[in-house]
Amino acid sequence: MIIIIFMFLAILTSDAFCYTEEYAYINKNVPDISIDSLEGSFRLSEIVSKKPVLMTFIYTRCPQACYVYLNRLSEFFKKREIFYNVAVMSFDPRDSLDDMGKLRQILATNWIFGISKDIEALLREVGFEYKEVDGNYDHPFLLVALDRDLKIVRRVKDFDGIEIIPQIEKDLRGEFTPRSKFQKGGFLSCFRYDPATGDLRISWGYLLILIPPILTSLVVGVISVLSRSLHG
């Protein structure tokens, strides 16, 4: 009964029982919006039909952060041979193709730079939320990997390092990508792996598995004592 009460409390205390994080977006189809790019106008499906796409969203009037972010990406990609297209989309309705052209010049890349009148529909589907603050935008750095069927195969919100890119590439290839939220160590992980020595040490999580038999011994002991004392 305690468990059931706890579960109801869990429902009541949660804002919404829904994972709005990456998991909820995987395998989701995005709308086939029309895109105006520096190379011409295309449907998104035409772009992904040639190569998968790694897409990100910025606005050109961004005072600094978007440029730092895009610079980090472009520096990384310059040293890398890639099998997919990188698309930079503006979510700011004020941005024009000219603005995007200037951005490309600054970054000196061959990425796709585009704007779209349907951008809001795409942003909704990939879970990109932003708000306007004094003419600027407060927004996350979102990377979305799309396969050739316009499906999301990976979504990284709050990009914090280029280390994630090789993983995204594996996802785009459809390869197995072991990844754990416990990379920095979690309290309930079963084992701790030391990559330097290759040692695998048992951790707290596995001890949890011992709890049922230990508790059973206690429960049986208590039942035995109670039954005998009630009987006696």
Binding site: I26, L200, I209, P212, T216
Partner: protein, 473 residues
């Protein structure tokens, strides 16, 4: 106790038949003979697995609780609580699956429900359903264990004095098996509690998904699920030990030292056998995999071998009255052994590498569940209604006929497994088209099994209704 047992039988057989229909629908869909929407297929798969265990476990409990009153004063309230919680739990599961669209399989492996195309509330309602079932069964198990321990001190209930070579006072094998089984049941229900608490923590901690270790969750899930299904079988075996000698006009079994050793080993060995569910999890250390394999090999020796030896010894040279009850028990033991061999083959790491994701797995667990556990249950039910004055001697052919069609049904699974036809597919593409043909034959055999069980159910339910309303007895 008699009336609530009759109520269990009526409820249990109705739900069981319903679950068989779902099973047939799945096989028909896999055969391509009917069109089952993929999502619907996996909803039915989830319901079939949960519903079967959800009703067969308490139905077996109802049987042993009925026979327990021969030895101790077993109060009615834990049984009634178990009934109430089971009915509520199963209704909620039906609601979760058909309205909420849950389709994650009974094992609801973390973090699968968060990827599923399920109504958001369905996962939490599902966990509530499991919690309700588990709570009811825990109260019932603890109640029964308490009533045993009131009369038998723990060491006697576990037959430790027999292991030490002391023959008197005798611990009836039924008490010994039931005690060790109830201890196992309590262990796996506690594992279920731990699992549900972790899910709650995960739900509360929604801002940080993936917070839990999937390896831990999988270990706990199978410690709970695998152990529960194992213990369910042992409940049926307890009934076999209790009733079988009477069919051959022999005195009740006495606990020998080897029987006591065997059944004391069970709770321990079963705790490690579940590791065989994690052979495919590369992060599980190799040592644990070997422990799983060895435990899986050892597990059948005490239970199956000792029981088989005991039963064959009883039958050999005796004038057994082959009524419906004894036929169900005898065939149940044989199929339990056959299913056990299939399970050992699968639990061997080298074989599991090939068989794990094939229909070999449903083959072996349908052998010892449908033709083993269900037969044990039908055995005690037949005995129960015979005690109520309904003679089943004229229907002793029924278990044999069910066995023939039942074996045909599971044989299609075994052959499919040998052909590497994958399990958990709603439809087989051309590359494994053998699966379609065999699924079609499986559905035909299963339909005959359903008809024969329906005949049994009508016969038994009508007798049970009489017992239920017979206030005089």
């Amino acid at each position: 106790m008699k009336r609530i047992t009759a109520l269990w039988i009526i409820t249990g057989l109705i739900i069981f038949q319903l679950m068989v229909i779902f099973g047939i629908l799945m096989r028909l869909g896999q055969a391509g003979l009917i069109n089952v929407d993929p999502l619907r297929h996996f909803q039915i798969l989830t319901l079939h697995g949960l519903g079967m265990v959800g009703i067969l476990f308490p139905l077996a409990m109802a049987g042993v609780n009925y026979f327990l009153t021969r030895y101790v004063n077993s109060p009615l309230w834990p049984n009634a609580t178990g009934y109430l919680f089971t009915v509520i739990g199963i209704v909620l599961i039906l609601f979760t699956v058909f309205i909420g669209g849950l389709h994650t399989g009974w094992y609801f492996l973390y973090p699968l429900p968060y990827f599923a195309r399920t109504e958001q509330w369905a996962t939490i309602l599902f966990l509530i359903s499991i919690a309700i079932l588990g709570t009811g069964w825990f109260i019932w198990s603890a109640g029964m264990l308490g009533s045993i321990l009131k009369r038998y001190p723990l060491f006697r209930a576990l037959g430790w004095h027999h292991i030490a070579g002391i023959t008197e006072p005798n611990t009836p094998p039924f008490i010994l098996i039931l005690t060790t089984t109830l201890i196992g049941v309590i262990t796996c229900l506690i594992a279920g509690v731990a699992l549900i608490i972790l899910w709650i923590m995960e739900i509360i901690n929604m801002g940080n998904p993936g917070w839990l270790d999937p390896l831990l969750m999988k270990n706990l899930t199978f410690l709970f699920g695998h152990t529960l299904v194992n213990e369910m079988l042992y409940l049926g075996v307890a009934s076999v030990y209790e009733l079988f000698p009477s069919f051959a006009d022999k005195p009740p079994y006495r606990t020998k030292s080897y029987v006591a050793i065997a059944w004391n080993l069970i709770p321990l060995v079963v705790l490690f056998a579940y590791f065989h569910h994690l052979y495919m999890d590369f992060v599980q250390p190799l040592t644990f995999q070997f422990i799983g394999q060895i435990a899986s090999w050892i597990a059948p020796i005490p239970a199956v071998a000792v029981t088989l030896f005991t039963v064959l010894n009883t039958v050999y040279g005796s004038r057994v009255r082959w009524d419906m009850s004894v036929s169900f028990f005898f065939l149940g033991i044989l199929f339990w052994m056959i299913g056990g061999v299939g399970a050992i083959l699968d639990a061997t790491i080298a074989n599991n590498f090939i068989l794990h994701n094939t229909l070999w797995v449903p083959a072996h667990f349908h052998t010892y569940n449908l033709l083993g556990n269900v037969f044990f249950t039908c055995g005690y039910i037949s005995y129960f209604i015979a005690e109520g004055g309904v003679n089943s001697r004229g229907m002793s052919w029924l278990p044999f006929l069910i066995s023939i069609f039942g074996f045909g049904f599971i044989l299609m699974f075994y052959i499919s497994g040998a052909y590497s036809v994958p399990r958990r597919y709603n439809f087989y593409p051309d590359i494994v088209s053998t699966g379609r043909l065999l699924a079609g034959w499986g559905a035909i055999f299963a339909t005959f099994v359903f008809i024969l069980f329906a005949l049994f159910s009508v016969y038994v339910i009508s007798a049970s209704i009489k017992i239920l309303w017979d206030r005089g007895k």
